[in-house]
Amino acid sequence: MLTLNHFLVLGALLFCIGLYGALAKRNAIAVLMGIEVMLNAVNVTMVGFSFFNTVKPYSTYLTGQIFAIFIITVAAAEAAVALAMIISIYRKRSTVDVGEINLMKW
């Protein structure tokens, strides 16, 4: 029998894997992919909450799914902007290594 627990733990696992990718990768695109994984983890959690909602007034029934839609929207926007930035930086410095991009240093 499936419970909310399953989906939350699944989300947590995905989240921390994505976090590792975002923290440990040199390639900026890999970092971005880690972030996408994290966002998906959150989406799984949200939709899970929506499905297992025990208090169901009409208006809040699908709130989790609505949340997921907005997260997808923002994630798409973020991916577009971030990739544009990566390409722009690559053109200027011929690298996508986030460890070498430190223009905002002291």
Binding site: L19, L23, V98, G99, I101, M104, K105, W106
Partner: protein, 729 residues
């Protein structure tokens, strides 16, 4: 009641005049001033703009009749002619103060019963204006004005002298730059002085106190470009202004501490409440009944410190003689008739508090006054500067007033004797100063330089008879010659000292009366008479200056005549004692019959006649040079002469004190500031900078480092929460 209720108009009229002149007619004056001609020399142009050229020694300007006149560089800047704006400023100031003067005379005549247009004033006075500035818990700070007979008498003095002085200034200041500014300052001063007079509580009187200090500062330093004259021992007006201001501040420190003590104990500033014997906030309940009379005495002596500073009593006398560097009308108005009397008025206003305090409080008042009177009279004996003699005589007479207040302790006389002398003194001292101003004005036209040294005068009575005769009236009045105003008021104080068995003060005041007579007649003869003049040397004689002096214009002589009349008849207001103390109707009035039958009176008259006679004999029978030689050839006389001429070395003592003690402490404090305070400040700054320099390496600019920080912090928090949930529960 309406007549009384609207008397705040007297107070605010001059303030209005000040504002109107500063923002209105003075702007008009500045806008319409003629541009200097193209061919004017740079020095001349600078002169017109109130800026003295540093290097220029001689300045060519145009005299009153169009001739070229060579002036010394330290003359005050001259304007060729006054603009309409400047004249309007003068007229505005005069009209406003004239209306105030008329109003205050109406009040005086009504309250003294001469005319009857309004019901009698409540003996405790009437609050005419009140504004709650701040209400804070139990203490309330209000701006409140109040009139009673004492205030009305003082208002009359202030507005009358102010009116005459402003009228006089039209002639005296005619050629001076900043004519409009001068009248605005005079209006400001009148307002400030009336603020003191109308004050209902210590807060308001303190504000007025500081305002008169400010206007005195502005007016002493009015001729900002005038230089010091070391040969004549005369400082620059700017320096004198600073000295006056700072010396007054020293007294004010005591004043404000005294006020704070009173306020801390009683919780009120209001004079009426403080003096009320039944009110729990009154000093009697707050101090005396709780066994704190000593503290009250200390507080009142501290309050008196303010009066010492403002009235130039010992040891703060030094500023008044140097304040004579200001224009002479200012000397007459502020430094003789009204502002310096503010100290006396303040003591009179707070007299119930002094009376409630221990006998030491009024003892201090009396003895400070007595010693100052003697000191100033001795110093005045040898001064050669015309105005300085008058300055010391002012200090001396103020001493008399304090003696009058001091010795009247515990009696039914109250503030009467002191205030009476203030009242009469205001007229004859203003007259003396305005007469001196008339002489200086005239000699200025004759010699084209500002001459105040009496050794360059002599025999002026021939040239300027009106000035001479009015000056003689004032001289006799201040000397205590019978039937003149000063005789009644001064003799009253001397007799009171005797009646109170205060024989020390009696001897001092009596001796001072003789000295006063001597130096005043000496000044008169040196200026107006001399050996070979009429009336045995009293009228005319050899003139020791240059040029041809003339009698001053009408704007100057009219006030002199009016004041001369006042200097005589002011002594015949016999109801004064009763008038200023309506709350104590048993105060005995001046009884002319008793005055003339009392042998003590004739002792006083004798002493002053001796003084007058000696001066007459000495200065009309011998040339000034002869007297000088005799003094220089006698070791003892030379020593005494030096001693008094140098003002008993009090100025030099202050000089040493400031040069070595005050500046020494200042150097130590400067070092403390430079090394310790700055060290701490710079140390803190350097520590912060160093910390920032080492910590900034945290900012690597790498986004993953920041993410590690963020999620690492989250991980640490997770551990903490885990630990708390698991082990604490």
């Amino acid at each position: 009641m309406a007549w009384y209720q609207f008397s705040w108009l007297i107070l605010f009229g001059p303030l209005f005049a000040f504002v109107a002149i500063i923002f209105g007619t003075r702007m008009w004056d500045l806008a319409t001033r003629p541009r200097e001609e193209a061919e004017a020399t740079p020095a001349d142009a600078a002169h017109a703009h109130d800026e003295a050229e540093g290097e220029t020694q001689l300045i060519v300007t145009h005299g009153p009749h169009g001739e070229e006149v060579v002036l010394e560089d330290d003359e005050d800047p001259k304007v060729p002619r006054l603009t309409m704006g400047a004249r309007a400023s003068g007229y505005l100031g005069i009209v406003v103060v004239a209306l105030a003067c008329i109003y205050s005379w109406i009040l005086l005549l009504n309250t003294s019963g001469v005319i009857n247009i309004a019901p009698p004033l409540d003996p405790r006075g009437l609050t005419v204006f009140s504004y709650d500035w701040l209400n804070q818990g139990t203490a309330s700070y209000s701006i409140a004005f109040h009139i009673d007979n004492l205030a009305i008498a003082m208002t009359v003095v202030v507005t009358t002298v102010s009116l005459l002085v402003q009228f006089y200034s039209q002639g005296y200041m005619e050629n001076s730059a900043g004519y409009a500014r001068f009248f605005s300052y005079l209006s400001l001063f009148t307002f400030s002085m009336l603020d003191i007079v109308f004050a209902q509580n210590f807060l308001v009187i303190f504000v007025g106190w500081e305002l008169v200090g400010l206007s005195s500062y502005l007016l002493i330093g009015f001729w900002i470009n005038k230089r010091a004259k070391p040969a004549e021992d005369r400082p620059a007006p700017a320096t004198a202004a600073i000295q006056a201001f700072i010396t007054n501040r020293i007294g004010d420190v005591g004043f404000i501490i005294g006020i704070m003590i009173l306020f801390a104990q009683t919780g009120t500033f209001d004079f009426g409440t403080l003096a009320d014997k039944t009110n729990p906030h009154g000093v009697v309940q707050a101090f005396v009944n709780s066994g704190n009379t000593g503290l009250l005495t200390a507080a009142m002596i501290l309050v008196f410190c303010g009066a010492i500073g403002k009235s130039a009593q010992l040891p703060l006398t030094v500023w008044l003689p140097t304040a004579m560097e200001g224009p002479t009308p200012v000397s007459a108005l502020i430094h003789a008739a009204t502002m310096v009397a503010a100290g006396v008025y303040m003591v009179a206003r707070t007299y119930p508090l002094f009376a409630a305090a221990g006998p030491e409080a009024l003892g201090v008042v009396g003895w400070v006054g007595g010693i100052t009177a003697l000191y100033a009279a001795l110093t005045a004996l040898t001064q050669t500067d015309f105005k300085r003699v008058l300055a010391f005589s002012t200090i001396s007479q103020l001493g008399y007033m304090f003696v009058g207040l001091g010795v009247a302790r515990g009696t039914e006389f109250g503030v009467g004797p002191g205030m009476y002398h203030l009242f009469t003194h205001a007229f004859f001292k203003a007259l003396l100063f305005l007469g001196a101003g008339s002489v200086i004005h005239s000699l200025h036209h004759a010699m084209h330089a500002e001459v105040q040294d009496m050794r360059k005068m002599g025999g002026l009575a021939k040239y300027m008879p009106i000035t001479a005769i009015t000056w003689l009236v004032a001289t006799l009045s201040i000397s205590g010659f019978p039937f003149f105003a000063g005789f009644y008021s001064k003799d009253n104080i001397i007799a009171l000292a005797f009646d109170q068995q205060d024989y020390g003060l009696y001897i001092i005041t009596l001796g001072t009366a003789g000295l006063t007579a001597f130096y005043m007649l000496r000044a008169y003869i040196l200026a107006f008479g001399g050996k070979g003049g009429g009336f045995g040397g009293l009228w005319g004689g050899p003139y020791r200056g240059e040029g041809e002096p003339h009698e001053s214009p009408r704007t100057i002589t009219i006030p002199l005549v009016l004041l001369a009349i006042a200097s005589i008849i002011a002594g015949y207001w016999t109801g004064f004692f009763n008038y200023v103390q309506p709350i104590n109707p048993s105060a005995p009035n001046l009884n002319l019959g008793e005055v003339f039958t009392n042998p003590l009176t004739w002792v006083g008259v004798l002493v002053s006649l001796v003084g007058l006679g000696w001066a007459y004999v000495l200065y009309t029978r011998f040339e000034l040079a002869t007297i000088h030689n005799v003094v220089e050839n006698n070791a003892l006389l030379r020593f005494l002469h030096r001693l008094t001429l140098r003002k008993f070395y009090i100025d030099d003592l202050y000089d040493l004190l400031i040069r070595y003690v005050v500046l020494g402490i200042s150097h130590i404090e400067a070092a403390f500031d430079a090394y310790v305070v700055d060290g701490i400040v710079n140390g803190v700054a350097q520590a912060v900078t160093g910390l920032g320099r080492s910590v900034r390496h945290v900012e690597t600019g790498k986004v993953q480092a920041y993410m590690v920080g963020f999620f690492g912090g989250l991980a640490v928090l997770a551990i903490v929460v885990f630990a708390l949930v698991t082990f604490v529960k």
